[in-house]
Every structure is written in structure tokens, then in C-alpha cells.
């Protein structure tokens, strides 16, 4: 028995004691195969999943290393069954391989004949395969390369894709000279990706994922299709590429709701790609518009389902996915693994944090008490309007005014879900309001003014928040609604509240109504933030 920092649980979670002297070392060793699930102040939770183990296999780690890591750092004996399970799961990856046969083209081959026998008999796989060449090899219809990988993952025999890539149309791209350099982890990420062929690079928010994308493009030096979440993000990519690479304005096209430019480097939004008209995707042909040599998927964890289907047909092109987390709300982690590729790089989060690129914000929950008459209305209201009633109580307006006053001079955002409440707030605070109906142009103008400090206070609706990257602020006040999905929330929070130059901590206030569903939702949010390592305080409205 060692006195290690790690405790292995029967449900395959790993508990890492943060303050242990071996914690950093242990974290580095387990990161390749375990996903970080929660990181509150004392004990972080990692989870071992089959996908995580296969990712580790794809990255060249073997079961022995994983078992050794668990045994070396574990404080207590590790149940034998768990070790056996780890070894068995890992050995499943790579028994099947997709390869390029000189005569027959794309083939599926095996080192373990019974496995091949099993999969060729599986119903959902049969149709994707062609003739059997010999006992260990079977022809694969080239169009099924992606679907086959998905299906094989589902039956528990993930295939290693060694069939190679087309080069695509060459296009000279290099990184620009200037007052900047790739950070070491960024060049490592590009190297691992290129070596692996296709796959996903996981970097925390603010660690410069766009630059990794640019470096990958320079490495490929070919035409590139970039898929991003929304229009504003597309424009940010464009600006960043102009700054970081030798590409010029007319080499980069935007393919969005507003413009349909196809250029050597084209940035398209998920939304336009997934627009459906009469049951077909009219913009699908963008994928074939050029002989793309590289496809970049930004924020892979938000990749919508139709894009997966399109990606299944693009398996001969190099693909790189960029994300801060592999955890998907919809459970489609397996599709990311099969279709984009295994995890190729995972940044040592702590190191990046130590360099000062990420830092936690100070989160405060302010509780207001409903007035007696509001409580009666709330108690007798139908369940579906209760949240609205509680969330948009007048008591909050008062608190928001005081908070804004307290932080006067600091860039502040007020965020909410209900338009009447926001209209009212904007009027009371004398601040501009951005909501769904605000045009992109107006929005950008306001954001720009906010960035330069011309405007110190903005009220934004949840709708605006969904489709737009908010500018940085040092204070955010949320009055109603959550930020959508859970990781989206943490991500936005991280982006919103970068540590400030003068070392001042950013503030995030959530104003909630006590003893109502509003407070219940807040508790979920609070839990999630605490899991992400954000300190959280609760104060009473009276103490603000």
C-alpha cells in the first residue's frame, strides 16, 4: 500500500487529492486515459470510460501503463476486477484496422480472426462490407469508411484508421512573423495531431485554440474548410488568421447566413451548414466545392448531429477538432471519436493555469426575498409560470442597481432571459439593451464600443448571448435564466471573466429569489460552478 494521492472507486471514478505532494505528477499520468469530471477545491474527480481508454490507446499508451499508473498512485488496493476490465477494454482497440490495400483499395483487416468473424456477421455492419479477400481481410465500400467506424465502436471493437488521407488542393500558408511565437504546448498539439492524422485537440478556454488551428493549416499548406459555431466567431477566426498567418483578406471567405464566399480558406457556420430546405441540406455541396486538404471543427463538443452525418463521408480528408472538453451534453462522444478522430492532445491544464492564462472568477449569489404579496401570487401560480414570476421579481431590480453602482467604472454586463424585465432594467439603468431583434451590425457596434470602454454597461438577453461571443467584462450580473447548457455556462463564464491586467478578480453575480424554483436552479448552477473550481459565496440582498 502506498500513500498515494489517488483513490480508485468501484464505479471507475478516480479521486485525486489536490493538496497531495504527488498530485501534479499523478494528474499528468492519468490525464491521457481519464476525463476530468469535477474539480472542486480539495478532491478532483476523474472518470475512466472505454472511450478514454481507447483515446489513450490511440495515443500509444498500453494497458500496462494504465494499470501501473493506477497501482503506483493509488492510496488503497485497487479491485482486481477493475484492472482486468481496463486491460480488456484497451485490448479491444486496434484489433481491427482500416487500411489501404494496393489492389482492393479500402479494406478492414484484423490481427484476431474471431473478432472479424464476429463483426462481419453483425447486422448493422454487413452491408458496409464487400468481398472477403482472405481470412483476415475484407473489402470496405469507400463511402462507408465513417459509418463503419461508428458501427464498430458501437459493437465495442473500435477500428484504427490507417487508410491515410488525400492531400487536397495545395495552398501556401505559413505563420506570420511578428511579436509572437507558438507556445510550447501549442506546437506540441499540432505535432501530435499531424502525426496521428486526424483527431481532437483539447485545450482549456483561453489557451489559444485558434492559433493551434492556424498552425495546423500552416502544417497542411492546403485549402482549408473551418466550421465554427456562429457568425461572430467566424469573424474572430478571420481576424485571428489575418494576424497570425500570411493569408490575405481575399484568400479567406465567409460562408454564413449573410455571405456565401468560397475561397481557399473558407469559414462556415454550423448553422448555415445545417439549414434545411425541403428536407435537404442545400449548403452541403460546400464540402465538395473544393478539394479541401484540411477541415477544422471548432468547439467539437457542440457539433450538431447533421454535421456528423456529413463528416462520415469526409473520412479521406484530414480533420482536426478543437475543444475545451470532450464531454457532450447529448452523449455523442463516441461519434466524435469515430468521425473526427481520437484525442490527440490534452494540455496539462495546471501548467497553463500557472502561466496565468486562466484563473477562477469570484462568484456571488445574491438572495432576495419576495414581498408577501408576491409570495401569495407565486404560491397560487401554475407551475409553468412560477419560474418567470420568481425570476423577474421587482426586488431584483433594486439589487442590480446597487451592484452596478458599486462597480461603476468597471465594464459590466447584465444578463437575463425575460425581455420585459430587461427592457425595464435597461431603462432604469440607462444602458443599451441587446436582444434577439438587435441586428448583427448594431450588436457588433455596441460590443466594439463596450470593448473600447466607450460604454461601461450593457444589458444583454439570453438570445443575444446564445448567438454571440460576449466581449470581456470584469463584472457580470445574471438576473434570470441560466446560460443554457452546463459546459456552455462554464465556458462563457471563463471567456467573459478573464483575469484582469491589474490582477483584480472578475465578479459574477447571480441574483436569485429565495425559497423559489429560481433558487433551486441556482443551486444546480452553483454545484456545477463549484465542480469547475469556482469559489462561490452567498450573500443576502440586504448585505450588498
Amino acid at each position: 500500500m502506498t500513500d498515494g494521492p489517488l483513490i480508485v472507486q468501484s464505479d471507475k471514478t478516480l479521486l485525486l487529492e489536490v493538496d497531495h505532494e504527488q498530485a501534479a505528477e499523478c494528474r499528468r499520468v492519468i490525464a491521457p486515459f481519464a476525463e476530468l469530471e469535477r474539480s472542486p477545491e480539495h478532491i478532483h474527480t476523474y472518470r475512466i470510460t472505454p472511450l478514454g481508454l481507447w483515446n489513450a490507446r490511440a495515443a500509444g499508451h498500453d494497458a500496462e501503463q494504465v494499470v501501473d499508473a493506477l497501482m503506483d498512485y493509488s492510496r488503497y488496493p485497487v479491485p482486481h476486477a477493475l484492472l482486468v476490465d481496463v486491460a480488456e477494454t484497451m485490448s479491444r482497440y486496434g484489433r481491427l484496422r482500416l487500411e489501404n490495400h494496393p489492389v482492393h483499395g479500402l479494406v478492414l483487416s484484423t490481427t484476431d480472426r474471431p473478432v472479424l468473424e464476429e463483426v462481419v456477421r453483425a447486422k448493422r455492419i454487413q452491408g458496409m462490407l464487400g468481398d472477403r479477400i482472405d481470412d483476415d481481410t475484407v473489402v470496405v465500400h469507400p463511402s462507408e469508411r465513417g459509418s463503419l467506424k461508428q458501427a464498430l465502436l458501437k459493437v465495442g471493437w473500435p477500428a484504427e484508421d490507417l487508410a491515410g488521407y488525400v492531400d487536397g488542393e495545395a495552398h501556401a500558408i505559413s505563420l506570420s512573423d511578428g511579436e509572437w511565437h507558438l507556445r510550447p504546448y501549442q506546437s506540441e498539439a499540432v505535432e501530435s495531431f499531424w502525426h496521428g492524422g486526424s483527431g481532437v485537440v483539447v485545450l482549456p478556454c483561453g489557451a489559444g485554440k485558434t492559433i493551434v488551428g492556424a498552425a495546423a493549416m500552416a502544417q497542411a499548406s492546403s485549402t482549408t474548410l473551418i466550421l465554427v459555431t456562429n457568425t461572430v466567431s467566424a469573424r474572430q477566426w478571420k481576424e485571428e488568421l489575418l494576424r497570425r498567418t500570411t493569408l490575405t483578406e481575399d484568400e479567406i471567405g465567409e460562408y454564413s447566413g449573410a455571405k456565401k464566399e468560397v475561397r481557399p480558406v473558407t469559414i462556415a457556420t454550423y448553422q448555415v451548414m445545417t439549414t434545411r430546405r425541403k428536407g435537404v441540406y442545400p449548403h452541403l455541396e460546400l464540402f465538395d466545392a473544393r478539394d479541401w486538404g484540411l477541415i477544422i471543427y471548432d468547439e467539437v463538443h457542440l457539433l450538431p448531429a447533421p454535421i456528423f452525418r456529413m463528416t462520415a463521408d469526409l473520412q479521406a480528408r484530414r480533420r482536426i477538432g478543437l475543444t475545451a472538453t470532450l464531454v457532450r451534453e447529448d452523449g455523442h462522444e463516441g461519434d466524435v471519436f469515430s468521425l473526427i478522430g481520437p484525442k490527440r492532445y490534452d494540455a496539462p491544464w495546471k501548467d497553463i493555469e500557472a502561466q496565468g492564462y486562466i484563473a477562477p472568477a469570484d462568484c456571488v449569489e445574491v438572495r432576495v426575498t419576495l414581498s408577501d404579496s408576491e409570495r401569495i401570487v407565486y404560491a397560487t401560480a401554475e407551475a409553468d409560470v412560477r419560474y418567470r414570476l420568481a425570476a423577474s421579481t421587482d426586488r431584483k431590480t433594486d439589487v442590480v442597481e446597487r451592484l452596478v453602482e458599486e462597480h461603476r467604472g468597471e465594464p459590466t454586463l447584465v444578463i437575463g432571459q425575460y425581455i420585459d424585465q430587461l427592457d425595464d432594467l435597461a431603462e432604469r439603468l440607462g444602458a443599451p439593451l441587446i436582444k434577439g431583434e438587435t441586428s448583427v451590425k448594431e450588436r457588433e457596434a455596441l460590443f466594439a464600443a463596450f470593448r473600447t470602454g466607450e460604454i461601461g454597461l450593457l444589458v444583454v438577453s439570453k438570445v443575444a448571448n446564445f448567438s454571440v461571443d460576449l466581449p470581456e467584462a470584469s463584472v457580470a450580473i445574471q438576473v434570470s435564466g441560466s446560460f443554457g447548457s452546463r459546459q456552455e455556462e462554464a465556458q462563457r463564464l471563463g471567456r467573459l471573466l478573464r483575469p484582469k491586467g491589474d490582477g483584480r478578480t472578475a465578479r459574477f453575480y447571480a441574483v436569485v429569489a429565495r425559497d423559489t424554483v429560481d433558487a433551486e436552479f441556482a443551486q444546480h448552477r452553483q454545484r456545477f460552478l463549484a465542480e469547475q473550481g469556482y469559489a462561490y459565496r452567498i450573500v443576502d440582498a440586504a448585505d450588498v
Binding site: M1, I7, V8, Q9, S10, D11, T13, L15, E17, R38, P40, E41, H42, I43, T45, M71, S74, R75, Y76, P77, V78, P79, H80, A81, L82, L83, R514, D515, A519, Q523, Q526, R527, A530, E531, A535, Y536, R537, I538
Partner: protein, 619 residues
């Protein structure tokens, strides 16, 4: 001792030294269970069929085959004759015969042996098989010592946790004993899901707890029986982990199939800590050692290996350090050395979890499980505080202050503020609304009068004051009224809503069945009834058919409507057989009666459900 060859078994025994007789009684303890009167009795016992069978069962293949070979030869049997039958060197043959002689399965002397008659008969059909020089070999591979200890201890801890979890949850909601005496498939399946193991594995754990006396059938509150943890479980649960494991592992070893199980462990122990390569070779080795064991011996060996692995007696295909200690007097101490020591503290975090970084002291664990839910088990335990878990603690009688004090006491880290808020918020809302039983109430606008009643020794104990002017009683109101009037009080009845219940003069009258000409009532009421009738007629479902005897579907429909507070259209056949259709708003359905607001009469009325012949929704 005479030189003449013994003529009978008794002769042979009579000639043996005291030491030799002790050896015999050790090898066949049944012979000396009650001390035999003389050598004659000893000999007849030793030759009896049950005793001979018992002794044969304990012979390994080499000795059994040798004895069978001797039995097949014409007595007296010489070594020469035996040599042709038995494929072993002379020394080995001599040693085997000597052992058979010592056990009194064979008598006589060198060169002139006799096999006891019962043995000869039993072995007539037994064809000799080898090998004679020892069990067939079991190939082995080395096991890393550290890994071996680790895996063994890990499994021991895991199995203890599973047993505790399983019995703990069955203690809270004991599943019924099936009529056949077994356990319900669904209960077992649920347990398997909860533990994350196979159904077969759970069956094994349950059998294990049953043979260890931790689980047994107990009478249910109703007529049947349930499976519940025994009182022994509580003692077991509070004893140290090593002792807990030894208790169940010993029970397992001593359970049915004991001889084969012991033999399996003996074979594994002969491998000196190395692992077997092929389980079938273990099967063969056991078969050699106990050739006359039950017909399902080989399956039992395979099963034993599986079970021993689940239990941690065997890990990495070798006898584990914990398993090696089984049967030794200090077995628990051996296991103790492998296991982590207990902790008495937790780390409380801002995401409302508390992590116990090791096995918790039972006292702390029990209290913590009152106030928080277990989220993950293993080397450590992760607890989560939720509003529900805190409410549960409050329900179990913990005051909020005690929850704070307890968490503060067991946490080595500062208590995060959100937890303090969670406890206080939950406590603040807890018990705001209270409910109890009462059959009657007493109300008086004068609190002093109630006070006087409460002070009255004949009445006070029946009352419970819930407000200055209100007291309730669980005694029926007629009884209470009676007692009150005996004591000289004159309570007045009250209708719901606070109206005085007016007493009419108590005179019985027969009801007039046929009233002849009815007097015209309030015309407005009549019109309302007509309109209601019209509406009902307009809502009559097309193609609807009357059904007699209010069916289950009717009940369900009415209940649904009552829950959703939606009006329904009904066709009703009254006592006189008159069919009416009306729209009603069901309030509740119980005991065959529908209570509903009737649009026709504009009143709340009761309808016998079996008289409702048709129901339809009335939008």
C-alpha cells in the same frame, strides 16, 4: 505378537501396537466416536459398510486404485501380484499398502494381504487409473507479489462494501420470500443493477450472506415472509473489516461442497503463490485427490474458482495472501495487514460533496448517511448533501444545529458557505406545514374555558390544544360530547364551515313514495336543469353504447377527470331505472361512489359508479 498370519481383521487389529491403533482412530474418527468395548467391536465397526465408504471417500486416486487392484486379485494378495497391476516402483507400492493397512481397509501381513469385504464389493467396478506418484501437474506462472497483495486487498474491500450495501438496502425495504421459498427475480435483478454486477454474482453474494447467517427469512407485517438482514448483521457490520471478511469467507468455505472447496484451496496452496495457467488442470488435480466426490465435482471446482475470485480468496489466478490465511487461527490478523486503516474524518467541498478518504469509522458513517447521500463507493466514499438528504435528517430528528455541529466535527476542511445555507434553508422550510390525526375538535372563543377543560382530569387527557381557542381529540365526537355532558358541559355541534348544527326534533316519519302532483319549484332552477340537459345531450358521444356494471375503464376515466378537474358527460341509470344524461365535475371517486358537482342540479351529488352506464369527456 505371534508369528502366525492373522486370520481375521480382528486378529490383525489385536496384534497392533497402541500407537498403531491411535493412527487408525485418527484416520477414521467415526470408529472411536463412542469408545468401542473391545477389539471385536472395533473390527466390526471398521468392517461395516458406512464406515468403509467414509474411509474410501477420503482416498486419493493412487490409494484408491491400489486398493481396487488388490480387491481384484485373489486373496491373499502378494506384492508380486500387485506389481503387475500397479504402475509404480516397489517402495511406492509398499508405502501405499502400508497406509491402507494403517486405515484398516486392508489386513494381513506383507505378501499376504486381504481387502475388507465391503471395500472389495464397492470397488468391484472401479478400474484402476493413475498416476500413482502424485497428482497430475498444474502448470504455473509467476505473479508479481505487490500486485497480488494489492488485488487481493482491493477485492476484499470491494466484496465487503457490496455485502454491506446489499444487506443495507434489503434491510430498508426487505423483498418478499417467494412462495417457493426463493428470492424474486426482479429483486435480484434490481440488486445487480444497484451493485453494477451480474445477476449470477448477486445470487452468489446472497447465498454467501445466507450461509454466514447475515440474511434470513423473517415474518412480514402481513401474512408472508421477507428476506431481511439478521441481528448478526449488525454485529458483523460493526466489527473490523478483516474479521468481517474472514467470517464470510469461512462460511463460504464451510458451505455445501466443503470437501471439494477445501481441496481446491489445497491444490492452489501447493503452487506456492504462483498462478495456474489452465483452470482445467486444477480440475484434474482435484479430481485426482478426491476421486469419489459427488458427480458434479468438476463443475463444482470450476465454480469454486469463480467464487473464490469474487471473494478475493483467489486473485490473479493464484491463492491470495488473504485466502492463504483462511483456516489459520490468526486469519483476521493476516487480512488486517493487507487492508487500509479506518478514517474518522471527511473533506467537505463547495460543490456540496464530502469525501471520506478511506473506510469510515462505523459510528461516523452511520451518522453521515443520515444527513448525506452516498454518491460513489470504493477506497473512499463520496457523499452528497442535498435538500432531500438534509430533510431526511430533520425527519429523523436531527436539529439543524446538530447537523452543523456534526459536519464541523468530522470535516478537516473549513465548511463551505453553500452547505451552511443549504442546511439552514432546508431547516427553515421544514415542518412549516404539519399534519396529524383528529376525530373531533373543540372550539371556544374564550381561551380560559378551554384551559379549564384541559385542566379537568377526566377530559384533559383526551384533548390536545393546537391553538389558543382550538383543541383536537382523537376520540370520536359522539364520545367526547358524551363525556363533556357528563362533566356538565354543553357543547354545540358545528357543521363544516362553522355553522351551528341545528337539532330537529327527533321524530321518525315514513317517506311518501308517490307525492302525486309535484309542486312547481323555482322556475330559474328548472331552466338551468333544462339547459344542462340540452348541453348534456349535445355532448352525447356519437356511437357510444351503454355498459352495465361500471367497468374499470369507467372508474379510470372518472378518476382521471377528477385529478385533472375536468367535467365529464355521464349517462346515469337511477334506482327506478330512469336513464338521465348530465354533465358533472368529478371531485373524487371512492368505494364505488362518484362525488361530483352536477350541472343539472347545481349541487355536489353522489352517484353509484355501477349505475353510470356511459362516460365521455365533455370539453
Amino acid at each position: 505378537m505371534s508369528d502366525a498370519p492373522p486370520r481375521t481383521l480382528a486378529d490383525d487389529l489385536r496384534a497392533r501396537s497402541d500407537e498403531a491403533l491411535v493412527v487408525l482412530l485418527r484416520a477414521r474418527p467415526d470408529l472411536g466416536a463412542t469408545p468401542p468395548a473391545d477389539i471385536g467391536q472395533l473390527a466390526s465397526r471398521a468392517a461395516s459398510r458406512p464406515s468403509v465408504l467414509w474411509a474410501l471417500d477420503r482416498l486419493d486416486t493412487a490409494h484408491l486404485s491400489t486398493l481396487a487392484a488388490m480387491a481384484a486379485l485373489e486373496p491373499p494378495v502378494s506384492l508380486d501380484g500387485l506389481r503387475r497391476q500397479v504402475d509404480a516402483d516397489d517402495a511406492r507400492i509398499a508405502a501405499m499398502v502400508a497406509r491402507l493397512h494403517a486405515s484398516a481397509l486392508v489386513w494381513g501381513r506383507d505378501g499376504a494381504w486381504h481387502v475388507v469385504r465391503e471395500a472389495r464389493e464397492v470397488l468391484r467396478t472401479y478400474g484402476p487409473r493413475g498416476p500413482y506418484d502424485g497428482p497430475p501437474p498444474v502448470r504455473t506462472r509467476e505473479v508479481d507479489d505487490r500486485r497480488h497483495r494489492n488485488a487481493s486487498a482491493g477485492t476484499v474491500m470491494e466484496v465487503l462494501q457490496r455485502l454491506e450495501h446489499l444487506l443495507g438496502s434489503w434491510g430498508e425495504s426487505p423483498p418478499p420470500v417467494l412462495r417457493s421459498g426463493g428470492r424474486g427475480v426482479r429483486d435480484v435483478r434490481n440488486a445487480a443493477t444497484a451493485l453494477g454486477v451480474t445477476v449470477d454474482h448477486v445470487e452468489f453474494l446472497l447465498d454467501l450472506t445466507e450461509s454466514a447467517g447475515l440474511l434470513a427469512r423473517a415474518p412480514d407485517d402481513g401474512a408472508g415472509e421477507v428476506w431481511a438482514p439478521t441481528t448478526l448483521f449488525d454485529t458483523w457490520r460493526d466489527s473490523p473489516p478483516a474479521a468481517r471478511w474472514v467470517a464470510v469467507a469461512t462460511a463460504w468455505l464451510a458451505g455445501p461442497g466443503r470437501r471439494v472447496r477445501t481441496q481446491v484451496l489445497r491444490v492452489l496452496s501447493s503452487l506456492d503463490g504462483a498462478a495456474y495457467v489452465d483452470a482445467e488442470e486444477v480440475v484434474e488435480a482435484v479430481a485426482w485427490a478426491v476421486p469419489r466426490a459427488d458427480a458434479d465435482r468438476d463443475d463444482l471446482v470450476r465454480r469454486t474458482l469463480v467464487e473464490a475470485t469474487r471473494l478475493g480468496v483467489v486473485t490473479l489466478d493464484a491463492l491470495s495472501p488473504a485466502g492463504a490465511g483462511l483456516g489459520l487461527p490468526d486469519a483476521a490478523a493476516v487480512v488486517e495487514g493487507l487492508l487500509p486503516s479506518r478514517v474518522d474524518h471527511v473533506l467537505v467541498q463547495a460543490d456540496l460533496t464530502a469525501v471520506a478518504p478511506g473506510p469510515l469509522e462505523p459510528a461516523v458513517r452511520d451518522r453521515l448517511e443520515d444527513v448525506a447521500d452516498v454518491e460513489s463507493r470504493g477506497g473512499a466514499t463520496v457523499y452528497r448533501f442535498t435538500a432531500d438528504s438534509v430533510r431526511r435528517a430533520l425527519d429523523r430528528g436531527w436539529p439543524a444545529s446538530e447537523i452543523h455541529a456534526f459536519v464541523e466535527q468530522v470535516s478537516v476542511t473549513p465548511i463551505p458557505q453553500p452547505l451552511t445555507y443549504l442546511v439552514d434553508d432546508t431547516a427553515r422550510q421544514h415542518g412549516r406545514l404539519r399534519i396529524g390525526d383528529a376525530s373531533a375538535y373543540l372550539r371556544s372563543d374564550d381561551p380560559a374555558e378551554l384551559e379549564a377543560l384541559l385542566a379537568d382530569p377526566t377530559i384533559g387527557p383526551m384533548l390536545h390544544r393546537i391553538a389558543p381557542t382550538v383543541a383536537v381529540s382523537t376520540v370520536r365526537h359522539e364520545v367526547l360530547a358524551d363525556r363533556l355532558s357528563t362533566a356538565g358541559h354543553r357543547p354545540v355541534g358545528e357543521e363544516p364551515g362553522g355553522v351551528l348544527r341545528v337539532r330537529r326534533r327527533d321524530q321518525r316519519r315514513a317517506e311518501v313514495v308517490d307525492a302525486g302532483v309535484r309542486r312547481m319549484g323555482d322556475p330559474a332552477e328548472a331552466v338551468r336543469a333544462i339547459r344542462a340537459g340540452e348541453r348534456a345531450a349535445s355532448l352525447r358521444p356519437a356511437g357510444g353504447r351503454d355498459e352495465h356494471q361500471g367497468s374499470l375503464a369507467t372508474m379510470a376515466q372518472l378518476r382521471e377527470a377528477a385529478d385533472a378537474q375536468e367535467p365529464v358527460w355521464v349517462a346515469y341509470m337511477d334506482q327506478a331505472g330512469t336513464r338521465t344524461e348530465r354533465v358533472v365535475e368529478p371531485l373524487r371517486v371512492d368505494a364505488g361512489w362518484l362525488t361530483a358537482f352536477d350541472h343539472r342540479s347545481q349541487r355536489v351529488q353522489r352517484f353509484a359508479v355501477h349505475r353510470i352506464v356511459q362516460v365521455a369527456s365533455a370539453p
